[in-house]
Symmetry: C2
């Protein structure tokens, strides 16, 4: 299998591409220089060979997988330290390796040191005093200590107020006593907690002077720095095998009256004075910051995973041939089937849509954070509501997209060597962590209902909620265009929120409490929240693309606008019921949209491979037998199969041990 021999079907696709692939790659990276920097970083990191595995990790035992992940982690961060010293670089290397595709290329299934960088250090920086930062950050950065962040408990996840772990201040010794009063109070899930970290930020209910003041962060030492043995009162271990992320070393932690010094409480916001006096933080809303940051970053991560999945499935669909619809012709590439285009092209469009939405909300996040610093909290609820529904919708869509890509590869997508199952494992995890999706949709719904009621009482609506305003059902003439559809989605969202408000009021009038009426209406509320998010995603995608294409070649502009068409049409056809209920769209309009959608698929067909090539995911990062750049999927499937330790011997020991005695009736 030579790296230069490109599968001729794939080569023909590339020859037929109508736009300049590099132009699109540069656009996605943020300019040619950014592309160059990314490629250089990939070169530097990958030439170390840390990502290579003598025996692929998928064949190892759970324990061996962890040990390999530790080995790789140490080698990787050792290398970053060296690079930082050599290049005097900023945080880009950390970001690329912890958040980007490069990191997943090296770890495949999770990294036991990730939370040290992604949660432990940032929490100390965000919530520690200047003195605390001075004490801890240096030790954490040069890895004298390894930390993690423990919030979720066995019995409590998304509902943070329900956490049971307590931190009780003892003014006599000036210590906090950390304690897990029940089994359900055990911390459960934190990455690296099981056998890797020796320190931990523990979120616990603070008690002082006989009163509970809610959840606060405490630094707890878990293990002896020399021997790594768990300290007295610390019950720590791993939670067991999972659907994915088996390299992350997720752990549990029980605390039995563990004492820590007073200054191990992170006190940038709230404080406990020596005598036990509690001093409240100026605003309790400041704590939202990290959570929103993580959700906003997640949208970007999801784009990366989706880009991987559609790259794999699209290239495979160009080289896989099947069936014989026309008797005298060879079997077509499966990419020629319109049902296959339907499965893949919307995924490609979604990557673009989500990427532009990620950039947009990232800007908004930075603006709102800047306003926060100057004491202006006004847009915080809007951003919070947006980050909730966007996280929920994007993670759910991404999981569906990856799984659809896997199924679009038929049986071969079921092979771990396709890398689609592992990618799904990483993506679907995001549907339940950092806030369970249904809970998040309902949080946004709460904001939408409030905004609706405020608008009904005569107040104005914030910018992203202009469509949320009670009015007589608006049925302007339907316009069968992309812009018309986007407007239609806004009308749908408004209609759904309005219906929910009416329904809740009706139920209250019939004697239900507000809470019961809310619960009874919650399926519709989640749906309204999703509709609101869809409208924003579509509108942002359209608006940002229209801006973006001003600076690109005519060939690329055409394709980028076709992708917008495709995405908007796809969602219109998915939500025909909503459009029929809340707008004046007609059956004739629908049939036209359907034909337009099918036509757009056939226009984009010839650029499908070019579009995924433009994501520019190197083979080492894609790590897929089906999706490699050269398209030699069958050769790679066979080559990967031969790496299975089961194939090392022609006859497995179990034949002599079990099978033969059994066949001979001697077992």
């Amino acid at each position: 299998m030579s790296a230069n021999k490109i599968n001729p079907d794939l080569q023909r696709e590339r020859d037929n591409c109508t736009f300049n692939v590099t132009e699109l790659t540069n656009l996605l990276d943020g300019g040619p220089q950014k592309t160059e920097e990314r490629k250089q970083r990939e070169d530097v990191v990958l030439k170390e060979g840390i990502h290579t595995e003598p025996v692929p990790a998928i064949y190892l035992s759970h324990k061996d997988k962890y040990e390999l992940a530790v080995k790789k982690s140490c080698a990787l961060f050792q290398m970053i330290r060296r690079l930082q010293e050599e290049e005097n670089a900023g945080m880009e290397n950390y970001q690329a390796l912890l958040g980007g595709t490069l990191g997943t290329a090296i770890f495949g299934d999770g990294n036991p040191l990730a939370l040290h960088y992604v949660m432990f250090i940032p929490t100390i920086m965000g919530q520690g005093t200047v003195e605390q930062q001075a004490y801890w950050i240096g030790r954490a950065f040069n890895l004298s200590i390894i930390g993690t962040y423990a919030q979720t408990e066995l019995g409590h996840g998304t509902f943070i107020r329900g956490l049971e772990t307590t931190a009780t201040y003892d003014p006599r010794t000036k210590e906090f006593v950390l304690h897990s009063p029940t089994l359900t109070a055990y911390k459960w899930w934190p990455g690296g907690l099981a056998h890797t970290a020796n320190y931990c930020v523990v979120m616990a209910q603070l008690y002082t002077q006989g009163k509970c003041h809610g959840i606060h962060p405490f630094i707890v030492q878990l293990r002896d720095e020399e021997t790594h043995m768990p300290l007295p009162g610390i019950k720590v271990g791993e939670i067991g095998a999972k659907l994915g992320m088996n390299g992350t070393n997720n752990g549990f932690l029980g605390l039995e009256n563990v004492r820590i010094p007073r200054d191990h409480m992170l006190m940038k916001n709230s404080q406990v004075l020596e005598d036990g006096t509690y001093v409240k933080a100026p605003s309790s809303k400041l704590a939202y910051g990290t959570m929103m940051f993580v959700r906003v970053m997640l949208v970007n991560d999801m784009c990366n995973y989706m880009a991987k999945a559609v790259t794999i499935a699209t290239r495979y669909s160009a080289i896989r041939r099947q069936s014989q619809p026309k008797p005298d012709e060879p079997e077509p590439q499966i990419l020629d089937y319109v049902t296959q285009q339907h499965k893949l092209l919307v995924g490609i469009a979604a990557v673009h849509a989500f990427k532009l939405n990620a950039d947009w909300i990232w800007n908004m996040y930075n603006n709102v954070t800047a306003e926060l610093e100057s004491g202006d909290l006004e847009r915080l609820p809007e951003l919070h509501a947006l980050s909730c529904c966007l996280k929920a919708v994007v993670t759910a869509d991404a999981a569906e997209c990856v799984e659809r890509c896997r199924l679009a590869c038929g049986g071969h997508g079921y092979m771990l060597s396709s890398n689609l199952p592992l990618t799904y494992g990483l993506v679907t995890a995001a549907c339940t962590y950092e806030g369970e999706n249904t809970v998040l949709l309902l949080q946004t719904a709460r904001y939408l209902v409030k905004a609706w009621q405020q608008a009904a009482a005569g107040g104005g609506a914030p910018p992203t909620l202009q469509h949320v305003a009670p009015a007589p059902r608006r049925n302007p003439p339907w316009e069968n265009s992309v812009r018309g559809i986007v407007d239609g989605f806004h009308t749908v969202a408004a209609g759904k929120i309005g219906l929910c408000v009416a329904q809740i009021e009706k139920r209250q009038k019939s004697g239900m409490s507000y809470e019961d009426a809310w619960n009874m209406t919650s399926i519709q509320l989640a749906s309204a929240s999703e509709a609101h998010c869809r409208a924003i995603i579509l509108a942002t995608y359209l608006k940002e693309t229209e801006q973006l294409v001003k600076g690109v070649s005519a060939e690329l502009r055409l394709v980028l606008l076709q992708l917008v068409d495709l995405y908007v049409l796809y969602w219109a056809l998915q939500r025909i019921g909503d459009l029929l209920r809340f707008t004046s769209i007609s059956e004739r309009d629908i049939e036209q949209l359907q034909s337009w959608y099918e036509l757009t698929l056939s226009k984009l067909r010839r650029n499908a491979v070019g579009l995924v090539d433009a994501f520019d995911i190197r083979d080492e990062i894609l790590n897929s037998t089906l999706g490699a750049y050269d398209g030699n999927a069958y050769e790679r499937l066979m080559a990967e199969a031969m790496k299975s330790p089961l194939n090392a011997a022609p006859v497995n020991d179990s034949f002599h041990k079990y099978l033969k005695p059994f066949m001979q009736g001697k077992l």
Copy 2:
């Protein structure tokens, strides 16, 4: 953790159940005696302890997983042999262990001997002559030989005519020469092929007297019966790790001019005479039989997996508490959230719906098979079309249901110990094997379009297609009832097929070939096929339940009819767009359906646990920390975590080997 201590939340659910759980269990089993027999079989099999694992298989390496699966297989079939001798039993034990939940309880993730029983022996029985049966079946049944069935190739799956493996008759030696002309011709996927089987039915293109006669079955010896070494010309091994089913030992097989005697071709249907003359089978349609049988059986399997998933998620939802919607009350059980009921109860209803549909098509299959024996092929195409779309819709729905149940358990559903990820792996595999789902939907569509055109030309429609008849768009007054909705689904199906036919004709008139017009319309065709299947599933569920409830208590009748309501309402609300397009349903009707759906959820809420208890899946079979009968999910999560080999030592070796030197800068 005492087996008797039931979680009080779960006990209260059981106390509040309004119907007799045993009555429903008996109904589902087919009578109290069947329940008794099932329980006895479970007792006998489980008391052997073959299902228990010193270290849970999820922690083992890929190779160790296989060796454990062989060990278990041998122990299991050894036991069955003993039981058969002791009890002089029929095939029930084999059926229960190969098709039912009992088998998956023992193997968890696949069984390397399954294809020996499910495909190798049945193929010889179905396609071998009496002499061939006499020679092979006995040896296969007493396990003197172990076989499998190899059809799919690396480059060819669902499209069987495209298979490349050749079997060329050599009249001089009276042998067939089996050969894989290319890498893509390698057999790929057969269970047990890698290291377990020593014989195999190979499907190959038959060449004799210079002519190709299409795919035929040949028995090929793969390995020496004594040493198990692969025979000359046989390239055999395993295909590598997969998303699931890692105990099945899926293999590849390349053949290099391997010679087999003439009588190793299975010749019940077609024959090759000694001189090489080819004698054709009376009907080529006979070969459909096995494929349809497998698809029909699959529907039943899916019910079992769904029943497991909803049992786990429902019991967990009764003991999990979260949030505090009302300030002064404790955190509610998550089962009290209407969004949670929405996720779970439709799954419970779907088990009932699919079970009744499975019984219905099983009867139809038996009738059509009986007609076939007497030479009547008339209903074969109808059954084939039904089995295709039903397989596609049921497997897709089942996968979605299992995944929804997993996500409804939040993060804990991601733990392998919940058994939801493994269950998903087994279910989603069925979406691509035995015919890829989109391809199957389009096969049914081909039949529907033909039936529509025949009806348009004045012919009648077969019973399951009464609604397929071109007529002016029928808009009878909408009736907002379960029956009205079911009728509406028939109208939708007819409308969609009609639109497809019109669209294809329009495209042909604009100059497209029929094949291109078909392809261009294929998204709509697949959707029409799905709509047709939905109509049949809903109608069958309603009709069969109405029959069934005649013989049950008033309490149970009420609940079974509520489940039908729920399921039909759920699908109506999922398909509002279709109903609005093709029927005269109004906005007011829709709002009523929504309220009715929400009301039905709240009615069924108190019986949710009773309904899953009635599936009567023993803890050993459920094999889930979250779903056990006693509801002690947290205790079980912790107990299972402690079985991880990583938890055997407080400090992992990797600390001394990698982490400590790294932290001290000495790596």
